[in-house]
């Protein structure tokens, strides 16, 4: 579950504001909005990597407002992946993994076997995103924050990976927040639809 109340986060240039919304446990929230509206900032504040000025953030029935990112049990996937360049693909996936078994399971589910020994700088944009997704999922977080995680993939891979990742999250009981510009993803039967415009978060469904 993700519950936000009276959230204000100030970043240079604008302020992010969200009055109140709740994403039920295990459900998916889709976040849309124009570029630069504050969608990534919203995910970063929930993850705790960006400080907030006011409000409360509750994740999985815990008030995490003052907790550091490592204590929030979240997985954060950026659009540009931000893989650790000094580690190979396997090192990235296993970085925060709960177990070796979950790494193996994800490698199989996301078909990452051919990439495992590669240095990350040799990966394509889509491959990078896949590895970043696997790295976040390997932590088995209760809250999954995905910032356009499939944007660099072709449509066939994107559809397959969306099904695989959301299926994995659902099977593990993770509450997911998915930022997207993709029409098909925006039309997902999500429990909550959020729209971010000029820093203001509103619930559209």
């Amino acid at each position: 579950m993700i519950r936000i109340a009276s959230l204000v986060a100030r970043v240079p240039g604008f302020a992010l504001q969200a009055d109140a919304f709740t994403v039920p446990a295990g459900a998916v929230a889709v976040v849309t909005g124009p570029t630069g509206a504050g969608k990534t900032t919203l995910l970063e504040t929930i993850a705790g990597v960006r400080p907030i000025s006011a409000g409360t953030i509750t994740l999985a029935d815990r008030d995490v407002t003052t907790l550091p990112p490592e204590a929030r049990d979240v997985g954060l996937v950026y659009q540009s992946a931000w893989l650790f360049p000094h580690l190979p693909v396997r090192g990235n996936i296993a970085y925060g993994a709960r177990s070796e078994a979950v790494v193996r399971e994800l490698v199989e589910t996301l078909h990452l076997d051919p990439l495992l020994g590669k240095p990350v700088e040799t990966l394509s944009g889509g491959e990078r995103q896949l590895v970043a997704i696997a790295r976040a999922l390997a932590r088995q977080p209760r809250t999954l924050l995905l910032d356009e995680p499939f944007a660099a993939m072709d449509s066939a891979l994107r559809n397959a990976m969306r099904v695989a990742v959301l299926g994995w999250a659902s099977a593990h009981g993770a509450t997911t927040m998915l930022v997207t510009h993709d029409g098909a993803e925006a039309a997902l039967p999500a429990a909550v639809q959020l729209r971010v415009e000029r820093g203001v978060v509103s619930v559209t469904r």
Partner: protein, 262 residues
């Protein structure tokens, strides 16, 4: 097809300027070593005074560099990552030793930490004094050269995107662990380069040390002492030996880095 004339001319002028610059850098040192000759350098290495001064120089520079790495890396991290009021002032203060003439730094050290200062008086009962002591040599090297490390380390850390640390923290790392596992390994080349530059600068320091600690003599002070006491020919072997040691260490560092990349 030939390049247009202005471009050819520009390339020729640039090559000439670069060659002159390299020559200006290499010629004096090359002449010094050539004049001293292999026999002169070897004879210098056989002298007890020279070996002692080289040992003091290398040990002093190494201790100063280790102290700067230990204390300067956290400071460099804060400067690179944390915006705070007065950061520009701290950075300007750090750059100050790079622009102040080093004898002036020596005078400042004597005033602040010499026998007649409050700090000097406080340290005297525990047997610590910067005047004519190895401690003074390390302190002078540290004050003069640590900014090279800290400012270089700040740049190296700033080049590592902070979002990588953010991701590491969502993967379970606390701040220190994320710095240790992500930022420091990624900034390592820059940190090593900065530490090497500081170490090299420390070994060649003269202006501040000569005022604070004429004894025990570091290599630069010994070369100067020989020069003013006995003249240039007597100072040459010591100076050439110092150049050879510095070149040797820099070559070793480069070889180690190349081996690591291979």
């Amino acid at each position: 097809m030939t390049a247009p004339l202005p471009r050819v001319l520009l390339r020729a002028v640039a090559t000439l300027c670069a060659s002159l610059l390299v020559l200006a850098l290499v010629l004096p040192v090359g002449t010094l070593v050539a004049t001293a000759g292999a026999a002169g350098v070897l004879s210098a290495f056989a002298e007890r005074d020279v070996l002692q001064s080289l040992a003091i120089t290398i040990a002093g520079a190494t201790i100063a560099t280790l102290l700067a790495v230990a204390g300067g890396t956290p400071l460099a991290y804060v400067l690179a990552r944390t915006p705070f009021r007065g950061r520009a002032v701290v950075e300007a203060l750090l750059e100050l030793p790079l622009v102040i003439p080093h004898p002036v730094i020596g005078m400042a050290l004597l005033l602040a930490m010499g026998r007649n200062s409050a700090l000097g008086a406080a340290l005297a009962p525990v047997g610590l004094s910067i005047v004519n002591s190895p401690v003074g040599i390390v302190v002078a090297m540290l004050v003069v050269s640590a900014p090279l490390y800290i400012l270089g380390a700040r740049e190296a850390i700033a080049r590592v995107d902070a979002r990588l640390e953010s991701v590491a923290r969502t993967l379970g790392d606390d701040r220190w662990r994320a710095v240790r596992r992500i930022t420091l390994p990624m900034a390592r080349n820059g940190l090593v380069n900065s530490a090497t530059a500081m170490w090299a600068r420390s070994t060649s320091e003269f202006g501040a040390i000569v005022l604070v600690a004429y004894h025990p003599r570091v290599a630069s002070v010994l070369a100067y002492d020989r020069y003013v006491t006995y003249g240039l020919p007597a100072a040459l072997p010591v100076a050439a030996a110092l150049v050879c040691v510095a070149l040797g260490v820099l070559a070793l560092v480069r070889m180690a880095r190349r081996a690591e990349r291979a």
